[in-house]
């Protein structure tokens, strides 16, 4: 073959037929040999199509495109969802209807005047065998109320005045003022129990200290995380799985390909656009219909949005139905504000009175917006933000307003947001809350000077008063009145409007069963089996 290629024209006979090159033969041979090599990958744990082994529940290999930031459950950001309910237990959890279900708290009793709650803890142990006691709850609340270390727990625990122990297994939580039970239950739902001696951000950056159904076995940053069954878990019937391997992906398409190849048997938060290629081969599970609400924000401290009437006009150009159809195939609910249909604050009529109306948007923009252009930041997550903003951009263009879209990565986005320099953006807020006032734990809706849209200007008095009213509301009548005041303030001030509730998707191999998520779309694998 080589001789034929290299031969001089005069020496060659029978020209015309080109044979496969020696290189191709060698390469094909090498590829054939390697393709015949089988076995599962040590990094993927259960890859190559392997499913249950080593125990009755099998091994789950779960793909995620969200990088793990730390093992600190106080940092309740989406990236840490994969460890929240696997490595840790909480005081309660919510079922699908947002009814409280005991977790580490077996029972709780509110004082008749709603100024305290007495919580009884079950006999349980942390993953190192240390018993869970009242002192762990007390240490946790103390940490939550420290603004330097409380992270996402600070706002949720702000109603607490003190926590004291009554014996090893009982705590009494006293409130700063009479507080609605729903607010307290929301705190119990979000409050992770961490071993007191390790309850600090430094230790929890790369160690776990929980009492959840799994323990940390190994972690290779940005590559894989292996969780093993917790032998000390309080429920002997759970978890059924022997281990969980979490594989991290930079790209959703790669994750989908890994599912189809058999390297994964489940994946979380899969982009809607990929479901079409997966639905025949896998089971698609949609999470809570209102775990997160997509909110569109306008900065009220920066022109042209420093005029409330301009903001109101721009918000009339948000076509929720069209956005939902494009971004998530019509799944989810259109929402006029941050409250979802399950919340006391939800008011469907606002979709009619303050919903999509291009004529009203055009008229309002023409009169009230001094300049008719602005910039909206597009961040990479969650998927769908860009598409949603493009639809709003197109509608605003019809209304005579130019909305420029500027991509930003996460680090830049968060920094600019905190600095109050973001003119407009869209991102989700977690909202599986029972109570109205829990919304204000989110910095986009805080009535305090830490609201990163209102900044040092501070939220307007109308909204601050509504937030205080919500915090003080205890009876149903008070809650209804507070909801009305809240919604009126949100509509009048119009710096944030709800667009739709996000539908998060989980893709599962056909042999995976018992895969559950809670109302915040955190995975709960206690009853999951593979095979």
């Amino acid at each position: 073959m080589l001789k034929k290629i290299l031969s001089r024209p005069g020496d060659r006979r029978g020209r015309g037929r080109v044979r496969a090159s020696l290189l191709g033969a060698l390469l094909a041979g090498a590829l054939t040999v390697t393709a015949c090599g089988g076995g599962s990958s040590p990094a993927a744990g259960g890859g190559g199509g392997s499913t249950g082994s080593g125990g009755s529940g099998g091994q789950l290999t779960l793909g995620t495109s969200l990088p793990l930031v730390s093992f600190d459950p106080y940092n309740g950001i989406d990236q840490n969802y994969v460890i929240q309910h696997t490595l840790y237990s909480y005081l309660i959890t919510y079922d699908k209807n947002r009814k409280p279900v005991p977790d580490l708290a077996t029972s709780w009793t509110f004082a008749p005047d709603n100024t305290s709650v007495t919580i009884h803890l079950r006999a349980a142990n942390f993953s190192d065998g240390t018993p869970v006691t009242a002192s762990d709850v007390i240490a946790g609340v103390k940490r939550a109320q420290n603004p330097d270390t409380g992270m996402t727990q600070t706002g949720v625990a702000k109603f607490i005045a003190s926590v004291t122990a009554q014996g090893e297994q009982t705590v009494v939580v006293k409130f700063k003022q009479p507080t609605a039970p729903e607010t307290v239950l929301d705190w119990m739902f979000f409050f992770p129990i961490v071993e007191a001696s390790h309850d600090n951000p430094t230790y929890l950056q790369n160690h776990a200290a929980g009492s959840g159904p799994f323990v940390l076995q190994s972690y290779s940053p940005n590559n894989s995380l292996v969780l093993a069954k917790n032998p000390h878990y309080y429920n002997p019937a759970e978890p059924k799985l022997q281990s969980v391997t979490v594989k991290f992906f930079n790209d959703q398409s790669s994750m989908a390909a890994a599912l189809q190849f058999g390297q994964l048997n489940a994946a979380q938060f899969v982009d809607y656009n990929l479901l079409g290629q997966l639905k025949n081969q896998f089971n698609i599970v949609t999470g809570s219909p209102d775990a997160e609400t997509m909110i569109f924000y306008l900065n009220p401290t920066l022109a042209p949005f420093n005029v409330a009437a301009c903001r109101q006009a721009v918000m009339r150009a948000v076509d929720r139905t069209a956005i939902m159809k494009v971004v998530q195939g019509g799944q989810g609910y259109p929402v006029p504000g941050p409250f979802t249909p399950g919340s006391a604050g939800y008011n469907a009529s606002l979709l009619n009175t303050n919903g999509f109306d291009l004529a009203a948007a055009k008229a309002g923009i023409a009169v009230h917006c001094a300049t008719k252009s602005a910039t909206a930041v597009v961040q990479p997550n969650p998927p769908g933000v860009q598409q949603a903003l493009e639809i709003i951009q197109k509608d605003l263009a019809s209304a005579g307003f130019t909305l420029n879209l500027q991509p930003q990565d996460s680090a830049t986005f968060i920094t600019q947001l905190h600095a109050g320099k973001t003119q407009s953006a869209m991102y989700p807020t977690v909202n599986p809350f029972l109570s109205l006032s829990s919304l204000t734990t989110n910095r986009g809706f805080s009535p305090l000077s830490d609201n990163y849209w209102w900044g040092k200007t501070g939220a307007p008095a109308q909204y601050v008063k509504a937030a205080e009213q919500a915090e003080a509301a205890v009876t149903p009548a008070q809650i209804t009145a507070a909801a009305t005041a809240f919604n009126t303030a949100l509509v009048d001030q119009a710096w944030a409007t709800g667009v739709y509730t996000e539908a998060n998707h989980f893709v599962l191999n056909k042999n995976v069963s018992g895969f559950l998520t809670n109302p915040a779309d955190m995975i709960e694998l206690g009853q999951t089996t593979v095979g």
Binding site: A43, G47, D148, S220, S254, Q260
Partner: protein
């Protein structure tokens, strides 16, 4: 030769220091901080300040650089702000993976580039030469990342032959698994680089084949294979060596997108994640390692020249 070697080695340190300074400046010019990523969008300014204090990021930039430089001279490259893992440990895990992938890609590159370059260079106007040139033109037009996606679609999704999420298994532990786990990213990396190298080799070889010494060799009765392989190719390899060495450097340091697409746990993936999370120590350590590798490769190429070309050895 030893003086040459010592002189080149002595150049390493100032180049590395200047490189470190440039990298530091570039990294700190990026907006955002690791504290923002760790704390999340909902964090208060107090929390971010506390994280900055814990990580030492609240010190002046020049002080942070001086501390880092002093520590790195003692082999301490710092700790990842996001994961808390020592940077040297992260690099120690990622670098061998990338090195193995790069070597695999280089082997594929050579296996593709040399035969194709010879085929195109010896008889560029023949049928084989034209076909090969056409193939090289097409493969140069296809970006490696797109080729990577096509390979995943074909070999992982449709044929289910190779895994899409590339797997790093040290070659000495399980050669078959090591090859199977990383063949797709190796191909995606190698094909473009091989086309560049083959083109270069073809041009050099074509030039060499028109030289007087080739006519002399033929006149002396040497067979065509001997003429090409023993005489022409050897001379054509000299400039090609430089190109191939630069490709190796690019494979080692520039495979970021391929490693991201294939989720391969190498330097590229590490750097990509570190850039997104503004993990300064990891970015600094990884980029510095890449600079050092480039310097080392350039030195090896210079030494190899002396091996391949006796004229350089004598001089």
């Amino acid at each position: 030769m030893s003086r040459f070697l010592l002189r080149r080695l002595a150049q390493f340190v100032p180049v590395l220091v200047i490189g470190a300074l440039a990298i530091w400046g570039f990294v700190y010019a990026l907006p955002g901080s690791p504290a923002a990523i760790i704390a999340g969008a909902g964090a208060s300014q107090a929390e971010i300040n506390a994280i900055n204090a814990r990580l030492g990021l609240n010190h002046p930039v020049w002080q942070q650089f001086a501390t880092w430089l002093g520590n790195s001279l003692h082999g301490n490259l710092g700790t990842s702000a996001v994961t808390g893992t020592p940077v040297s440990s992260l690099l120690g895990t990622a670098a061998p993976a990338t090195a193995q992938l790069a070597i695999m890609a280089m082997v594929v590159l050579v296996l593709i580039a040399v035969p194709l370059g010879v085929a195109a260079g010896v008889r560029p106007r023949g049928i084989v030469g034209r076909i090969v040139s056409g193939f090289l033109s097409v493969s140069l037009a296809v970006p490696p990342f797109w080729l990577g996606l096509l390979l995943i679609l074909a070999f992982s999704v449709k044929l289910r032959v190779f895994p899409p999420a590339a797997i790093y298994v040290p070659f000495w532990q399980d050669p078959a698994q090591a090859l199977r786990g990383a063949i797709l990213p190796a191909l995606a990396l190698a094909i473009y680089s091989a086309s560049v190298t083959a083109r270069f080799l073809a041009a050099s070889l074509h030039e060499a084949m028109r030289s007087d010494y080739i006519r002399t060799a033929r006149a002396k009765g040497a067979g065509e294979i001997r003429v090409v392989l023993r005489h022409a190719l050897r001379n054509a390899l000299l400039p090609t060596l430089t190109v191939a060495a630069l490709q190796l450097g690019a494979l080692l340091g520039g495979a970021i997108i391929i490693e991201v697409i294939f989720t391969y746990p190498g330097l590229g993936s590490l750097l990509y994640t570190a850039l997104n999370s503004r993990d300064y120590a990891v970015i600094q350590g990884a980029l510095l390692l890449i600079v050092a590798i480039f310097l080392a490769i350039n030195l090896v190429v210079d030494l190899l020249y002396a091996v391949v070309d006796p004229r350089i050895r004598v001089s």
